[in-house]
Symmetry: C2
């Protein structure tokens, strides 16, 4: 009865990439997850472990005793350990460092000199560099052995590791063996400084049309590369985290994160939203008397709030992308506001009319219809205006508008909508 399980496991290990297995494992509740985990070979375990989300990793470590965790940290390379450090206890990090090769340890230390917002932290340390003094024949031998993925060129360095130039591997093919490298290298290499902002660095790699760009430190020494895959993955991760954070989730949360942890993370966002909801309620409360006399206003409140919220978030989405692309400046902001107000006016007039007609047939009160028309048009215009201004101001204060823009915007449109609707109602209907 044991045999089929073993066969199944070895089948899985042969056919399923660790990346896929990590995703698959996170689809299991913790208990089943552990049972499967224990069946896997330790090498496969380590590879999966590196691909997991931090929180899943932590759940796994918490459920195993410390000694059986240790093999997971054996002989890691610098890049793997770098991905783990942020969320790992010092005990494991120290153990992992002690188990590294001397070379990987020095790579690890070098990368740790840079913060997570700098390109140097994210560099990979493939050994594709050769000293300038060599001949083409030597370069050929080194390149033939070196199978670093995503490398089309080899970098040439001097005795102090300074980057002098590069040569494309395919160019080496037809060069004479006796030629000196210094005679054939391309010197105007595009490079990244290790302290460069990682987002800008990733964009530079993607736009370069190359598979990687070299990274140099403050002395001009070549320390590593940032390759296309890492660049795109960094950007993807960033967007993914943003999406989660904008819903008030921890960007680490997986399907079976612990109930307490999930509840705690989500509670904070619910609390913030509660404040804004009570703020809206407080404004409604100012019109209690009006509501008592014209209860239809209470019935229609969600329509006013919802139309403003949707209009605003349409403008917001467009502006957030424009800000991210650097398209919005002091010079064109007013032109954008004008255009959004025009769009708002068209949709405001259209939908105010539609809503006015529907409410007239529903409540047979022409003044109520006028009231809601004014409120809808006003709220959609305010929404268009705030849809530009709210993210613009957040951006000015270095707050990511993708995270908090929507909450602030709907608070504005809710409050303005209720005041306009109930205020007009008080004036026209009492």
């Amino acid at each position: 009865a044991d045999l089929p399980v073993n066969e199944l496991i070895s089948e899985i290990e042969h056919n399923l990439l660790p990346e896929h297995m990590a995703i698959l494992l996170e689809a299991f509740p913790l208990k089943s997850r552990l049972i499967i985990w224990q069946q896997l070979s330790s090498e496969y375990q380590q590879n999966i472990f590196l691909e997991m989300k931090n929180e899943s990793r932590q759940m796994l470590l918490d459920s195993m005793d410390d000694d059986s965790c240790l093999p997971l940290f054996d002989k890691l390379d610098a890049n793997s350990l770098l991905e783990l450090t942020e969320h790992l206890s010092d005990r494991f990090i120290e153990y992992a460092i002690s188990q590294m090769t001397v070379k990987q340890r020095s790579h690890f230390k070098k990368a740790q000199d840079y913060s997570e917002s700098e390109a140097g932290h994210w560099q990979s340390f493939d050994e594709n560099k050769i000293p300038e003094k060599l001949k083409v024949s030597a370069a050929k031998k080194i390149c033939a052995k070196n199978r670093a993925p995503l490398s089309e060129v080899i970098y040439i360095i001097d005795t102090e590791s300074k980057l002098l130039g590069e040569i494309a591997i395919n160019r080496l093919l037809t060069l004479n063996d006796e030629t000196l490298l210094t005679d054939v290298i391309y010197q105007e290499v595009q490079y990244l400084e290790a302290t460069k902002d990682i987002e800008e660095a990733a964009d530079a790699v993607i736009l370069s049309g190359k598979s990687a760009l070299p990274i140099i430190d403050e002395n001009g020494c070549l320390t590593g590369r940032l390759d296309l895959d890492s660049a795109y993955q960094y950007k993807e991760q960033l967007k993914d985290n943003q999406l989660f954070q904008s819903a008030g989730l921890s960007d680490e949360e997986d399907l079976f994160s612990s109930v307490w942890l999930s509840s705690k993370n989500r509670a904070i966002w619910l609390g913030i939203n509660l404040l804004t909801a009570f703020l809206a309620s407080w404004f409604i409360g100012l019109f209690e008397e009006t509501l008592q006399q014209v209860v239809a206003l209470a019935v229609l409140m969600p329509v006013v709030a919802s139309m403003g919220g949707i209009s605003g978030s349409q403008t917001l989405t467009l502006i957030i992308r424009g800000l991210a692309l650097g398209q919005i400046t002091d010079a064109n902001r007013q032109a954008i506001v004008k255009k959004e107000l025009k769009v708002g006016a068209i949709n405001g007039i259209l939908w105010a009319t539609v809503i006015g007609i529907i409410t007239f047939y529903w409540f047979a009160n022409p003044l109520l219809s006028v009231t809601i028309c004014i409120a809808i048009l006003g709220n959609i215009l305010i929404a268009s205006l705030s849809g530009v201004w709210v993210p613009w101001l957040l951006n000015k204060f270095n707050i990511d508008p993708a995270l908090s823009g929507a909450v602030i915007l709907t608070t504005v449109t809710d409050i303005f909508g209720f005041i306009a609707f109930l205020g007009c109602g008080t004036l026209l209907l009492l």
Copy 2:
């Protein structure tokens, strides 16, 4: 006075990539955009044109007479024209085809055999293939001349273009010139079928760790490659479009899209949301009498709706990612629902209590506090349940939950919240 402008323009053309210039142009209102455009050299114009969004491209074409548009379509390669075709009038497409080289024209026709959801439509046609009969020396010469970006290997084909194997360019470096290719090629090449779903194909390229995978047609003939850059760009574009569509925007909209076009696109989404808002209003309307007697219920309605909406969208965000990763199946759905309900219960009890206490101090009506406690707890639980079920069902019916999930979910939580709150209020407070 003319000279500085010319200098500025040539400065720009030298230093700004067409990708960047396209983004920059879209930051200008149409009039200024055209003035800048006319200053640019026709080669640079063509490069920018290829990088623009379809709608910006259309605006440009609309504002120029047909003849001055034609140079934009001169000597395009197959991949460039493929990106344009979807939104271009037949006249321009025919002109572009007539101006292509014979080779590019045949590439173009080949790619057009596949639909946009198939990998074959997105392949690039670099010439990195060589016949099996050649010797290593010939392969070296071909590779040395061929500087296709993102290529680490060269593919070996037979006389009928069938893919036989590949050889890494760096391995060629140390091979003897007289060796026959057939003796050294690696035959177990990972390839993509041209009819493969483009999303799966892109994932395969990204996971392969290579810079590209070869694409073969139904006869096993090598037709092109899908490279890492195209794979990531396809995925990025997909996510970007999703974000825009989920806000009811056209995924083509730029900052200065025409006011009428923007208004039209956005109006549809506003209309759909209006239906759901009126639905909620209709349910509130059922409780008109209650609202008239206890106006505090009207004041607190936004709190109930908002807490349910936020809870639900937190679960929804998590589940949409789980569905996209294929982590959610019939086997674990119930376990996920159970976990989400637990999280919902914890946050429901917590925030119901907080809200109960606040409303007690505000309205000094213990039964009102009990009413809102019940409604909040109930609505957060329903939100947790719907947050799993709504996207799950949409996915079952092949509707992308990222596009319409949020609207449906908030409709559910709004309606349930109002019924629970006003219903309890009717029972307890009248």
